[in-house]
Symmetry: C2
């Protein structure tokens, strides 16, 4: 028997992260289970952007590059993210989008790994990662993308594989991969692994150093709460930085950006992975999002994510049986991230009905209902109540309403 | 004899753009001559960002991708920029940084132009453009960067040249190139030209269609007033879009981004040059900047830029003679953009003395004093008064103060 409302409210009252939830805006009448797609807005974000626009930009103007340390933002925010993912401050910078950062690391890694030109990944991986790999293959001679099912993948790291590219937590199933084991196996086989942390960092404990991971990218606008389309980050272990060259050699990656000479010389450390001038307002919103982790123990985040997901799964089993929902997320807490997915032939319509009733999760085509449980601000009560709404939608056939059947473009 | 204060105040009173200046924040006690580096903040920017953060993000959350049409922003803002540069709405999208966009177009153009692998440019061109070209040369086999002085460049477009890469207005000298003539000469020689409009769009009249230009990139945070590090844009003439493939193939460039399939298919039009999720807060600030051009006749912008620059040059000649300032910007108004540069062996110290006295221009190493005259908000009186401050700094040797001699990192 899964937990009662009374019980889960008691969990909320004892939650070591309960004070943190108050740092986020909570729209009236909404249960938000999509922080894995776009994180909630910190209460502070508005004040930060006000200061950035009305103060730093409007009054400080170009002087704010130094005066407000805009110039230091990529490394400064990178260092704060490093703290959340088990990296050193000097191993992470914020720049561009996840896709662009992945392109940089793929090209840099493959140039180092030549002639090992295969990028190994899995069918159904995060689409933009697969797309970027295809762009790299169309650009670099001798490079190709090979997709193998997860269970065969690790054993298939042959002598032609230069790079293994995987997401740490799968965007669709929520499955969490064993970063340490895969990294070790790849290293033994002479391949580098690029980890995409987009769906794990900020939701669960990530320990890049402990896993001896060497390369990673990640997203700023999901569990890091950086605002819509927030800049992304990349990680390169210190021991690899000097031997990797980004193909995107813009002025911010120059050893001396203010030299204004004709010849590119990459910066010594992670700055070499910077390219153009960063979108500062979005950068500062990201910093505000990351700052919400201040004082937060990532072990507590991990523990809460596990409990939130378990509660959801158990409540759905109890309350929504017989309606054809199939759990595609692993049951073992250590094998999943911060979101849970079920398939259903009418997943789209069911999600539309939920959204109209104030429960926001998302639909991933063709048949996935996905709900994310950002540990910083999701309450156990939210999960409990969301499942009650889902049960009602299923039990009353509310999702069959014709207006839920027409697909709009969704994100 | 150059114009008197009384005369220039009369010019301001008759300026057809005088109402537009009121759309921008004007910090008390400051004469801002650096809109070519970071454009001034529109008065509206603060309200726009407030709505974006407190409304669209905090309350709308993930629903705002459709509800606030975030998803349409790259094309929507691109269409507004198209209007300023003589392009069709379907020929411009906003994405990434100028450097990243240049990388996309260089690789796409060179793949089309193979085996013509030479990128032809000029020594002393905009540094990030040269750096990006070097990164492309290090990535694509058979590609190299060749630098030739401007006067030899056009005649040197040989059979091995795939792409000519030039800025429309030179960041340092302010010289404006003859876009139509160079584009025609390159076309005759079988080369494509990529124009960097960063220092011309928004300051002078740009007519891509009239020049039969095919490829261009440009910056959002200079004369377009998009805020610090605002996203950039790229232009591809309709007749070239289908034949060019970006190497950066992220999900936003997919023909159907919400298909979530494994195989990349580029979108039909300019969307194929999008990559990752755009930094929306910075995007919306850029849109606000671009919106300040509403109702503005670009011919009036061009006319005012010419007159502002001429006034500055004439006043400096009148008031600052004998101090070693050398004009490096062309005198003929049609051959320059919206900024004017002088060299001086002590340019750095002089600019520091100016900044401390509330006149903000910038220094470009090793010896350039650069002042920009953004036509939307710079008044003729500003120019006149700025030159008085410069004359005082020079006549009193104020710049020799030791505290102006130590170079800090500047942008």
């Amino acid at each position: 028997m899964s937990a009662s409302l009374l019980e889960v409210c008691a969990w909320d009252a004892e939650d070591p992260l309960r004070e943190v939830a108050a740092r986020f805006v909570r729209p009236e009448g909404l249960i938000y289970l999509d922080g894995n797609s776009l994180g909630a807005a910190p209460v502070d974000a508005y004040g930060r952007l006000e200061a950035a626009v009305a103060g730093e930009w409007a009054q400080g103007l170009v002087r704010s590059w130094n005066g407000a340390d805009w110039i230091g933002a990529p490394a400064r925010i990178g260092a704060k993210i490093a703290h959340l993912i088990g990296a050193r401050p000097s191993e992470v910078v914020v720049a561009d989008s996840t896709s662009v950062n992945l392109f940089k690391l793929l090209v840099a890694a493959l140039q180092r790994q030549a002639p090992r030109g295969v990028i190994l990944s899995e069918p159904g991986e995060f689409p933009t990662d697969l797309y970027v790999a295809q762009g790299v293959a169309a650009t670099l001679p001798g490079v190709s993308l090979r997709l193998l099912p997860a269970e065969e993948l690790v054993a298939a790291i042959g002598a032609d594989v230069g790079v293994v590219m995987l997401t740490h937590v799968h965007y669709r199933t929520g499955a969490r991969r064993d970063m340490a084991a895969i990294t070790q196996r790849a290293r033994e086989a002479g391949a580098l692994v690029i980890w995409d942390l987009s769906h794990s960092a900020g939701a669960v404990q990530v320990d890049l150093a402990g896993a001896r991971a060497e390369l990673a990218v990640g997203c700023g606008y999901k569990y890091l709460n950086g605002g819509p389309g927030a800049p992304a980050y990349l990680y390169v272990a210190e021991r690899r930085q000097a031997e990797l060259s980004s193909p995107l050699t813009g002025w911010m990656g120059h050893d001396d950006p203010f030299e204004f000479g004709d010849v590119y010389r990459p910066a010594a450390g992670m700055d070499r992975f910077l390219v153009g001038t960063p979108p500062m307002l979005s950068m500062l919103a990201l910093e505000c999002g990351v700052d919400q982790f201040e004082g937060v123990d990532m072990a507590a985040v991990e523990a809460k994510a596990r409990r939130l997901c378990s509660l959801f799964i158990e409540r759905v089993e109890d309350r929504c049986g017989g309606h054809g929902l199939q759990l595609i997320t692993p049951c073992a807490p250590a094998r999943r991230g911060g979101h849970v997915s079920f398939t259903h032939p009418d997943a789209y319509a069911i999600m539309q009905a939920l959204i109209e009733r104030g429960v926001i999760g998302d639909f991933r085509g063709p048949d996935v209902l996905r709900c994310g449980f950002a540990p910083l601000y999701t309450r156990f009560e939210d999960v409990w109540r969301a499942v009650e709404v889902l049960a009602e939608v299923l039990n009353t056939d509310a999702w069959r309403d014709p207006r839920y059947q027409t697909r709009a473009r969704v994100t």
